[in-house]
Amino acid sequence: MTAPSTQDDAVMQGAGAARPALVLRSTEFRRGREQGWRDLEVLLAKAERAGLSALSTEELQRLPLLHRSALSALSVARAIALDRHLLLYLENLGLRAFLVVYGPRQGMLEGCRDFFVRGFPAAVRGAGFHILIAFLSIVVGTAAGFVLTRGDESWLTAMVPADLASGRGINSTREQLLREEIFAPWPGFTRSFITFANFLFRHNTLIGIMMFGLGIAAGVPTLLLLTYQGLIFGAFIALHFNRGLLVDFLGWVSIHGVTEFGAIILCGAGGLVIAQHILFPDRYARVDSLAIHGRSAAQFAVGAIFMFFIAGLIEGGLRQLVADTAGRFAIAALTAAVWLGYFVFAGRGARQ
């Protein structure tokens, strides 16, 4: 049978007169499943618009079933169908369903509770070495700041930015420091607990986030920032030491310093964890190594922000309320014990 004669026959025969109608497996396949896809699409649109909670119990039960049947349809379609539009549609549908079904399970509140009970202390316990390094760099900075400023107080002006010094400087006398700083009068609830605490919180948090974020630059800026915090601290110690106020100043600092330095060290340690897994990726590719460990490092930073918040409250308000060095040391010891207990014991044995 030659081609032209066949054509002429077909044209003359008209619509499907003699030959059986064309049956495509892919078309039949599509006809059988299409309703399920459309149902899934409706559920997805609802969940994407208003969240999973907008779905009824019945719909929630159907969603994973429809999701799996859409994915299995995709597998079959890839094997038997050459309909490009159908394949693209199924891939798109599968992806949208995947995002809804495997999206973030927890809301903000649940996530927070889980984080404080388990995630944060566990992350801290897993990074002892980095915490030690961060701690040591602060100690080194403090020692250097102390030694330098003790001999020559002009170092203080060089190292401490003006807004942090808030009037304290090489010209401050012993009486000024005692009256205006260490045993300053209670400025009232609003000013101390809200205004001052808030300023301290924002300032500290920014530094902490920077320490963490700059871990991606191989951790060098993180170490520099840590040491610099130590330098400032050391310089102030020397300033007070030279005026015979060492013990009172340490009491004044330690009441909130335990919490604040703890948070700074944690932020720094988080940055160092990131730096370590960029520099030494172990068996993984650098990107994968970072992805595996970056999340636990981020838990440090989030937890540290919370600690900064508490430190800000203590520094802004409580410190002025307790105008007595022994009392301040007692509170400092108490906060140290609480944090230590929290990090060592909290969340052990909880479900993974």
């Binding site: 049978m1 081609a3 066949t6 054509q7 077909a10 044209v11 025969q13 499907g16 064309l22 049956v23 495509l24 497996r25 892919s26 078309t27 299409e34 459309r38 699409e41 994407e48 994915l71 995709l74 038997i80 050459l82 309909d83 490009r84 539009h85 159908l86 394949l87 693209l88 549609y89 798109n92 549908l93 599968g94 995947f98 995002l99 495997y102 999206g103 973030p104 927890q106 809301g107 903000m108 996530g111 609003t190 808030n198 924002r202 920014l206 986030i209 920077m210 974020g213 991606i216 630059a217 990107v287 992805a291 595996i292 970056g294 999340r295 490092a297 981020a298 838990q299 930073a301 989030v302």
Partner: protein
């Protein structure tokens, strides 16, 4: 299949797509399109605009309180605090609540997903947004301090150094920000697709021989499908007529196809070709395109 899909897309759009594949827990490979830099920039600008509007409203509230004249200090501080919280939690909140999309991303059809196809965890969302402070707000504040500071060189050096972090998405394969690196996430674009009717028609008015159908492969079939699905216009009609003429020449179809019959003829040819190729495929003889040798 995916390679064929890429080939068709590249032929039609002229540019290779940036596709990645994720493996879902069900063991299915799903292709995803990486978001363009432009789309992400627009999404970010929308988000920043919303953030700035909220902050501006807060400042209006400050002014209102200042005029009232009582409790000024508390109001100012509270507002500053809230603005700070808004700036840091805006992205985290929405990416958790809206399954990886902020308002800006949603408008642009973008989503944050786990790079390997796992679930997007809260810690990943926190991680990818914490570095925003370093990537975005720090360079901006340095830039703003430029005119005040006397030593510009120092500031410029700092700015260049920070700029490297901000420009990171331009320098890597997966367009990841530094936050994406830390959290192991990527940002993808999800177009909305609707299921259209199948092109295949069951009526048979033209009859093609096996030899004629064997002239083409899956690639040509899908290009033809795409052309037939385009909305009809003078331009597409002209293209379809050209295609029809070429097909007739290739398969040795001598009967004339009148202009009004071009689309029905092509649809018939598409149906027959697809039926033929799908059947061949079941027997393990898929022809990729017209140049591949028949087994």
């Amino acid at each position: 299949m995916s390679a064929l899909d890429d080939k068709v897309a590249q032929f039609l759009e002229g540019v290779p797509r940036n596709r990645r594949e994720i493996l879902t827990p069900e063991g299915i490979l799903l292709p995803v399109d990486l978001a363009d830099h432009g789309e992400r920039a627009v999404a970010l600008i929308i988000d920043l605009f919303i953030w700035m509007c909220v902050t501006a409203l807060l400042y209006v509230a400050i002014v209102a309180v200042l005029v009232e004249g009582k409790g000024v200090e508390i109001a100012v501080t509270l507002i500053l605090f809230i603005a700070f919280i808004v700036r840091n939690l805006y992205f985290v909140y929405f990416e958790l609540a809206w399954q990886g999309a902020t308002p800006g991303k949603r408008i642009n059809g973008l989503r944050v997903i786990d790079r390997r196809g796992g679930p997007l965890t809260p810690s990943a969302v926190f991680a990818r947004n914490l570095t925003r402070e370093v990537e975005l707000f720090l360079p901006v504040s340095v830039m703003l301090s430029l005119r005040a500071g006397a030593n510009h060189w120092e500031t410029l050096a700092l700015l260049a150094w920070l700029g490297l972090f901000s420009a990171l998405p331009l320098f890597n394969h997966d367009r990841m920000r530094s936050g994406d690196f830390i959290a192991g996430t990527i940002v993808i674009a999800i177009p909305k697709r609707v299921l259209l009717a199948d092109l295949v028609e069951n009526s048979i008015r033209y009859n093609f021989t096996t030899q004629q159908l064997a002239a083409y492969g899956a690639f040509e079939l899908q290009i033809l499908e795409e052309l037939l699905r385009r909305p009809r216009s003078a331009r597409t009609t002209a293209v379809l007529m050209e295609v029809c003429a070429k097909i007739c020449a290739k398969i040795g179809w001598t009967a004339p196809v009148p202009a009004a019959e071009v689309v029905p003829f092509l649809i018939e040819f598409y149906s027959a070709e697809r039926a033929f190729l799908e059947r061949e495929r079941l027997y393990g003889r898929l022809r990729e395109d017209k140049n591949s040798r028949p087994d």
